[in-house]
């Protein structure tokens, strides 16, 4: 491929690519993102290729291995064009049928369609599935149309048009102004206005300047950046080059965690292609602007995502936050001005340049514009990646997109913002989700983690879980964060084990204050959020644990006892046979009883007891009723 040397050449190439594509030719898109690969997409794709070859359809059907469209829970996902038929959870065995029925006969296979859990109706088209219908997928919506390893696919959807526009029709100042007016805020956690940061770096009179993509994504369970980078790497590259042009930087880094091999692979390929086509390297598109990119693989620590830690890591040292009151935008990598942006932030940039700030600001709320991708997980029917306009309420996200809470359970709380985000209770479900509203509630947008919890979740246990995670993921450098977290964990462990003391809540609050005020980096200053918000919204649950030795959600093992309700026990002996420590006595027609001294509280009996009997119950905070005397245990059937 010869390098493209002007805007005209770019548009000519685009037309050439499009003209070669027949929109009516059957095309089977299969998600080959990490999620779907884990659920067997590779075998599905292999079977598909095999079948097409067998049926001699090679020339008549296109297969596309794409990035993640978000509905990972139902993977492997397949969308068949031009009809846009969406099949979920496809297995290799389904392939012959798909080819002979759907491709050849144009018939839809009902079995593979999405079924509405309430109405039982089948949904044929991808865009009609409620999970997708209620989203606004500006960034990940195109993933299913693109083979991330093909630059032509990106060009076909208008790729690099924004770069050409910026380079040829706009001055760096104009680009800056556009992004400023769009009020694009950082998606990596802080929500800092991107244009402001760019301007700072741009104005520092030191060369060279660096631009960096933060693709560390260390939050457990979060994978929005992975989906974007894996599924549409060129969109990030395009945003990066535009930011470099604006700032006046000629060298960039993509810091991507080692644990994302597919993202690394796709980014490497994308960079090579972009260099070949002239979107990177010397004299980009003939504009005279030079820019090169290096990929830095991070060793994958949560704290390495913090800006100064990340830059220290790029310098080849241990990725630890550094104590500087000079911003990295002014003095970053090798003490040079360095602009750091999140993957998603940069992916938004081409959209803004192409469509204008007005268009962008028409989406979202007063202070937060555009869309945001969330990783919706936990006790919710549809888990996966969801991209919604800023300002959509938590309720809409959880119920309309997420499909509500499974198994008739009640919603209890949602945790947003990753491990150091806060827990938000039911009364705030109608809060519009944007940077400022979440902060007001004591939580944060973070990078977009969203964990839904139902009534069977103990918030104290949840707080303990996050604190435990942070104990391992803090870099351990500063006292408030390291020692503070350690003792928070200690106190929380005591509380969930029923060994809590009067004053523990105050002590936790004191530690929270110290960590928030005195820690070196944002990990430490936000680390107390899970604790402080759960105390704020669920203080009575803490009290119950401490004062009554009671876990209201019946989760904390040490505070829960298992008991067989004599009136409900049908003496089926299932629990007795399953108990690993033989703590249950009983027999045929003998009401079963649990020997509390032997019981290890594994909960096997609780799960084993048939739901229609529901005889095994959990008790917390009150004494277990005395077992029936031996002679009263024979079961008189029919009497109940």
């Amino acid at each position: 491929m010869a390098r493209i040397n002007s805007n005209t050449e770019l548009e000519e190439l685009r037309q050439e690519i499009l003209s070669k594509r027949d929109q009516n030719k059957p095309r089977i898109a299969v998600c080959a993102g990490t999620g779907c690969l884990a659920s067997g997409a590779a075998k599905v794709i292999a079977a598909l290729k095999e079948e097409i070859k067998k049926q001699g359809l090679n020339a008549d059907v296109d297969i596309k291995e794409t990035g993640c469209p978000g509905f990972c829970e139902r993977g492997p996902i397949m969308v068949i064009y031009p009809e846009e038929i969406c099949y979920l959870q496809v297995k290799p065995d389904d392939i012959p049928e798909i080819i002979s029925e759907t491709i050849k006969e144009r018939k839809v296979i009902d079995r593979l369609l999405y079924t509405d859990p309430t109405t039982g109706e089948k949904v044929t088209h991808e865009s009609e599935i409620p999970f997708y219908k209620n989203q606004k997928r500006l960034l990940i919506g195109t993933n299913i149309n693109i083979d991330p390893k093909s630059i032509e696919d990106y060009l076909a959807i208008g790729g690099y048009r924004a770069l050409a526009k910026a380079l040829f029709d706009m001055t760096p100042e104009q680009v800056l102004e556009e992004v400023k007016r769009a009020n694009l805020r950082g998606r990596g956690g802080g929500g800092f206005p991107a244009a402001k940061k760019w301007e700072t770096t741009r104005n520092v009179p030191r060369e060279p300047k660096y631009v960096i993509v933060n693709a560390d994504e260390g939050d457990p369970g979060a994978f929005m950046d992975r989906a974007v980078l894996e599924g549409n790497p060129h969109s990030v590259l395009e945003g990066l080059v535009i930011s470099a042009y604006t700032i006046g930087s000629h060298e960039g880094f993509i810091y991507v965690r080692q644990e994302y091999p597919l993202a690394v692979e796709n980014v490497d390929i994308a960079i090579k292609q972009a260099e070949e086509y002239g979107f990177l390297g010397q004299n980009i598109l003939g504009s005279g602007f030079d820019f090169i990119v290096n990929v830095h693989r991070g060793a994958g620590a949560f704290v390495s995502g913090e800006s100064s830690a990340l830059m220290t890591a790029i310098e080849g040292k241990v990725g630890e936050p550094r104590p500087k009151y000079i911003r990295t935008a002014v003095s970053g990598i090798w003490e040079r001005p360095s602009n750091l942006n999140n993957v998603e932030t940069l992916a938004n940039v081409p959209l803004i340049i192409n469509n204008g700030a007005e268009w962008f600001t028409s989406i979202g709320t007063e202070g937060s514009k555009g869309t945001k991708i969330f990783s919706l997980v936990g006790k919710v029917n549809n888990t996966g990646l969801v991209e919604v306009p800023m300002g959509m309420s938590l309720r809409e996200i959880i119920y309309n997109i997420g499909g509500g809470i499974p198994g008739d359970k009640k919603f209890k709380a949602v945790q947003t913002g990753g491990p150091s985000g806060g827990v938000i209770p039911e009364q705030y479900l109608d809060t519009p989700v944007d940077f400022d509203e979440l902060t007001k509630l004591g939580s944060m947008m973070g990078s977009g983690g969203m964990i839904v919890m139902d009534e069977d979740t103990c918030v104290v246990d949840v707080a303990r879980y996050f604190v435990d995670f942070l104990c391992d993921e803090s870099c351990g450098k500063c006292i408030p964060c390291r020692e503070g977290l350690k003792h928070m964990r200690e106190v929380l462990n005591n509380i969930v084990e029923g060994k809590g003391n009067e004053g523990d809540i105050e002590l936790l609050e004191e530690l929270s204050r110290l960590m928030t005020k005195a820690s070196l980096c944002a990990l430490g200053t936000s680390a107390a959020n899970p604790v402080s918000t759960t105390i704020r919204y669920f203080g009575d649950e803490y009290q119950a644990h401490i004062k009554e030795s009671k876990c209201p959600a019946l989760v904390c093992k040490e505070l829960v006892s298992y008991y067989i309700e004599p009136s409900k026990c049908q003496a089926c002996m299932i629990c007795l046979r399953n108990c690993p420590v033989e703590a249950i006595s009983g027999g045929k027609n003998q009401i079963h009883v649990i020997d509390q001294a032997k019981c290890i509280k594994c909960g096997v009996c609780f799960d084993a007891c048939p739901t229609r009997f529901g005889a095994v119950i959990k008790i917390s905070g009150e004494p277990v009723p005395a077992s029936l005397p031996e002679k009263e245990r024979s079961l008189v059937r029919g009497k109940k």
């Binding site: 391992d472 351990g476 006292i479």
Partner: protein, 592 residues
Amino acid sequence: MDEITLQIDGREVKAEEGKTILDMAKSLGIDIPTLCYHPALSPFGACRLCSVEIISRGRSRIVTSCNYPVEEGLVVNTKSPDVIELRKMLVELMLARCPNVKIIQDLAKEYGVEKPRFKLEDEKCILCGLCTRICDERIGVSAINFIGRGVDRKVETPFQGTLDIDLDVCLCCGACASVCPTDAIELEDTTNKKPIPILSEYNVGLESRAPVYIPFPQAVPNVPVIDREKCVHFVTGECKICEEFCEPNAIDFEQEDEIIEVEVGNIIVATGFNAFDPSPIYQYGYGRLDNVVTSLEFERMVNSAGPTEGEILLKDGSHPKSIAIIHCVGSRDEKYHEYCSRVCCMYSMKLAHLIKEHSEAEVYELYIDIRSFGKGFEEFYNRVLDEGTIFIRGRPAEITDIAETPEEEGKLIVQFEDTLIGRQRRLPVDMIILSVALEAQPDAEAVARLFNISRSADGFFLEKHPKLDPVATMTDGIFVAGCCQGPKDIPDTVAQASAAAAEVLAMISKGRVEVEAATAVINEKICSGCQICKLVCSFSAVDYDEEKKVCRVNEALCKGCGACVGGCPSDAINLKHYTNEQIVAQMEGMLV
């Protein structure tokens, strides 16, 4: 450079750009606690103890003063209630982590923290990072670093010495251990290397010393020296901390050794003796058995300015209950030195006396003969006897730690023949002092050649005449004094030195040297430069002129003995007033 004005605790101060709040607070004498700050190292920002409250651009916030750069108009409060509360809790957390660390205990006292409300641990390391930074930033090797994240963080070498990789970057310089405020570093454990201490020469290896040190308290001049072989700067080119901290700027790494030439008319050689190294006497176990020491080592130990401050200690740190002093180690022994070292009996008794003075230990002196010949010496011998020191006549055959009876368990046993009762005996003791011989310096040969003086069979320098000229040598103007001439005690040395000085003064006050009338002269025209004359001259009076390639006689040294005249193969030498012609003429006159 622009000056910046800021306010700390209500006091205005002007600062240079680049200074920190902490720097300026210090200059005002305002105390801010720190744990991870060190003036020679880059700020770390880890302990947060130096937090202060600032008002900058109208906003109040808490920052760490050790790395917050001064700004125009900055208002700083180092002791606001928020700051104090915060520091107090930090101290409480640290006290829970390190309840037995002195600096933390002190801080706790200062901030009124009594008992932490948290679970106690017993760590020594406060994770201040001083050690890792000094190793990286100043020593330049980065041999230790933090490993583990979060609550598992600790100081280690790369790969914790578990992998079979010898990175071998650690210099074992000990900088980390010396900078550690809590003594948390056991060099060997932390670095996985065996540290080789630099032994103090003055304290005969009983103590280690730093690479920059004052040789000994009374050294002249009394200033430190840098040991180039050990100083990290001379090894790696880095460090230079001393240069930074020496206020009078006295450190000069460029300084070289100099050779100073002085012209003199007389030289007194007083190069002293060498203490005999008893390690070749294998059966005495020196260097092999703990608590077998030489008299010189013991001398340092018992000295109140010495490494143990005068306390007599065994290797394990306990006090000995019995000590044996072995006389004549290396002296009066055909295998080593046949001569009597003359001072050992008396200094051994002095040591016995000191032991009695400093401790409760039993003392045994194992001697061959007691030679207490000097003034007051016999009286001192009697006194030591009275003090309870037990004298046993017999030369030990062996010192061993192999016990034969339960009483000997854990002791050193001296095996010897008690010649007064004619029986083999075993004496179990805790410590053994070897009273080592005095011997000639190892470089005596070279010195003798340099000054053209002779040595006797025992290796010491030879005087001109034992009775008639005991401080002069065969070379005029060269004198000897002290033990370089032979073992002697201090009074004898002083007497001899005075004599030598007197001889020299006599020469100087005379102002001139009387030369022999009959000295040899070399006829340069005939001399072939074979230097046989130089070889045969016992008075070093012949010099060889490198340029002219001839020999020449120094008249001030020539004694007119005529040895060279007879020796010269080309008949180039004549003795003044005794030339061949003169002698032949005399003979002819007599014969006629």
